[in-house]
């Protein structure tokens, strides 16, 4: 709490300055608030609402029964890497050598951290697009790099293009981080623009760190990896994992594919910090990559129906919302209510007991927006949208009656009557 005041005394004096300066994730602050309202309907969940398919859970149990409890190769079980290679061939149309070009990590989060630590010299600049997953900015800083946020906007569906990249590029840029489909916006950059970005990366000699964890959850067109463009495979680190596609967030398995030298550099960091990913999780992941395809197709279809409903309702309510082409997040604009994104989230939670995440948790470019996950039941979605509609109606009414009342944001009688 009083880190700043007493940075030269007390335990705080031991904390490294670049860690001290790191902000806590905005999601954590909001999470604390939501925890005090356990009866709230949460549209804040960043993981599938499905349980891991049984065949995958069963594979983990079987591994435990067989006494598979040892360390594994630092790169991960060779059988798993072979399964990943086959999967990457099918899903991404990319060939990697399981012996030297694939590293199994503890979630994509670790893969991201390893990639940055393996390539960044202090002061190297890294471009990434915003709004983005919460860890990008701090991970770059932790690796002593200098993050450069490239804003994307609703005007172009939160897609990225090479023109805006060129605008933000500066000498000393070493890497470009991409995440399509994007958490939190659901954006997908189409093949044409992705090709331009690829040419830009070649022109500026950038290494691309591409987080494609939502690759299976695209609704309108099949996913395309930037690594498939000419000249890109050798300068791309492809990050992917089992969390979203197979509802395996708690297993913590990700992987990176790239040229052998880069993978080996990452492996060096990995072997001294993590040693290897847990073997039971690796066994489960192997089953997922080998035979989890039918579950993925079913989940995608169900998410799509939820997406169409939620986006239509947001627009009906007057919170303009683009159609996300991937992920399970809608990212509506709340500016028309006259509230900023934090007020909106706090009051919606307080007055109507619905949790959505303020867009600024994903960077400044999320200002004026909120992230609503549709990874929950229809009953929850129907009720949540009804409450959001009532909330927005109340806010607008109060706004037209007199700004001062709404601005105070107090608990008002007509909105407290709801039960959950």
């Amino acid at each position: 709490m009083n880190l700043k005041k007493s940075s030269t005394e007390g335990p705080a004096r031991f904390i490294a300055s670049h860690v001290k300066g790191l902000p806590k994730s905005g999601i954590r602050e909001f999470f604390a608030l939501v925890s005090q309202t356990p009866e709230a309907i949460s549209l804040g969940i960043g993981e599938p609402d499905f349980v891991t398919p049984w065949s995958i859970r069963e594979a983990a149990i079987f591994a435990l029964e067989r006494g598979r409890t040892s360390y594994t190769d630092n790169l991960g079980l060779i059988q798993l890497r072979e399964a990943i290679a086959a999967y990457a061939e099918r899903q991404f149309r990319l060939s990697y050598d399981p012996k030297s070009e694939i590293l199994v990590t503890v979630g994509v989060s670790e893969a991201l951290d390893l990639a940055l630590r393996a390539i960044i010299n202090p002061g190297d600049k890294v471009l990434y697009h915003q709004p983005s997953y919460v860890s990008y900015h701090p991970s770059i800083e932790l690796a002593h790099g200098e993050p450069i946020a490239v804003p994307t906007s609703a005007g172009n569906q939160f897609e990225l293009d090479s023109d805006i990249l060129r605008q933000y590029w500066e000498p000393g840029c070493k890497a470009l981080m991409l995440c399509f489909p994007t958490n939190p916006t659901g954006a997908v950059t189409d093949a044409g623009k992705l090709g331009q970005i690829a040419r830009f990366a070649v022109e500026k000699d950038l290494l691309v760190i591409s987080d494609e964890i939502y690759a299976e959850l695209t609704f309108d067109a099949p996913h395309r990896s930037i690594a498939t463009f000419p000249g890109m495979k050798e300068r791309t680190l492809l990050l992917h994992g089992v969390s979203k596609a197979f509802a395996m967030t708690g297993f913590r398995i990700g992987y990176v594919c790239g040229t052998a030298l880069l993978v080996e550099a990452m492996m060096k960091v990995h072997q001294y910090s993590m040693m290897c990913a847990p073997i039971l999780s690796q066994e489960a992941a192997r089953e997922a990559f080998t035979s989890g395809q039918s579950s993925v197709a079913r989940m995608r279809e169900q998410y799509m129906r939820r997406r169409d409903f939620v986006v239509r309702r947001f627009n009906d309510i007057g919170l303009s919302c683009h159609l996300p082409k991937g992920t399970f997040y809608a990212f509506p604009c709340v500016e028309s209510t006259g509230l900023d994104e934090s007020e909106f989230c706090n009051r919606l939670l307080l007055e109507e007991k619905v949790a959505v995440v303020p867009g600024t948790a994903f960077g400044e470019a999320g200002k004026g927006y909120v992230r609503a996950s549709f990874s929950t039941s229809y009953a929850n979605l129907l009720e949540a949208m009804k409450r959001i509609e009532r909330f927005v109606g109340n806010v607008r009414k109060a706004g037209s009656e007199g700004d001062s009342v709404a601005a105070r944001g107090g608990r008002r009688m007509e909105s407290v009557e709801t039960s959950s």
């Binding site: 356990p38 949460s42 969940i45 958490n183 129906r305 239509r312 995440v357």
Partner: protein
């Protein structure tokens, strides 16, 4: 309009008006589609799936393997349809393998089921033999697991 059917198949219990709200259709459009599905024999009907332990149902259920002789015209159909007609019969399937029909029956008690098998089923012309197995416990019924539920309690309400 098959969207209505696909949504129903997800298995969440929803009223017509909620289905309409989700799919952006009017109530009458949803009703019309449901009527069409029933008229065309695609949607056969509705029935709640009960946990027989919780519902304190004393019904006895049995599975019967039935061997029948096919007829020159109509094969197994006529005998199978005669068996299916009894209201004790919940389901009836033609199977490959050691027997021909697999018949699920239920009755108020053991005696009732036994009587049904010996006096009704076994006496139908064309039935060669029966083997009756009584159900002891249900672990999964029509896609629903009856065992311990997976708990969401530790899942954070907000995550990145």
């Amino acid at each position: 309009m098959n969207e209505v059917l696909n949504l129903l198949l997800e298995g969440e219990h929803l009223s017509s008006s909620k289905i309409g709200e989700i799919l952006g259709l009017s109530d009458s459009e949803v009703e019309h589609e449901m009527t069409r599905l029933q008229r065309e024999g695609i949607l056969l009907g509705w029935r709640p799936v009960l946990n027989s332990d919780q519902a304190a149902s004393d019904l006895v259920r049995a599975v019967i393997e039935v061997k029948i002789s096919p007829e020159r015209e109509g094969g197994f159909d006529r005998t199978a349809e005669r068996i299916s007609g009894f209201e004790e019969v919940e389901s009836c399937y033609l199977m490959s393998g050691a027997y021909d029909l697999l018949v699920f029956v239920r009755g108020a008690n053991l005696h009732e089921v036994a009587t049904f098998v010996s006096e009704r089923l076994a006496t139908i012309g064309g039935v060669l033999s029966t083997a009756t197995h009584f159900l002891l416990r249900t672990y999964k019924d029509q896609g629903f697991l009856l065992g311990r539920k997976v708990s969401d309690a530790d899942k954070p309400a907000v995550s990145p």
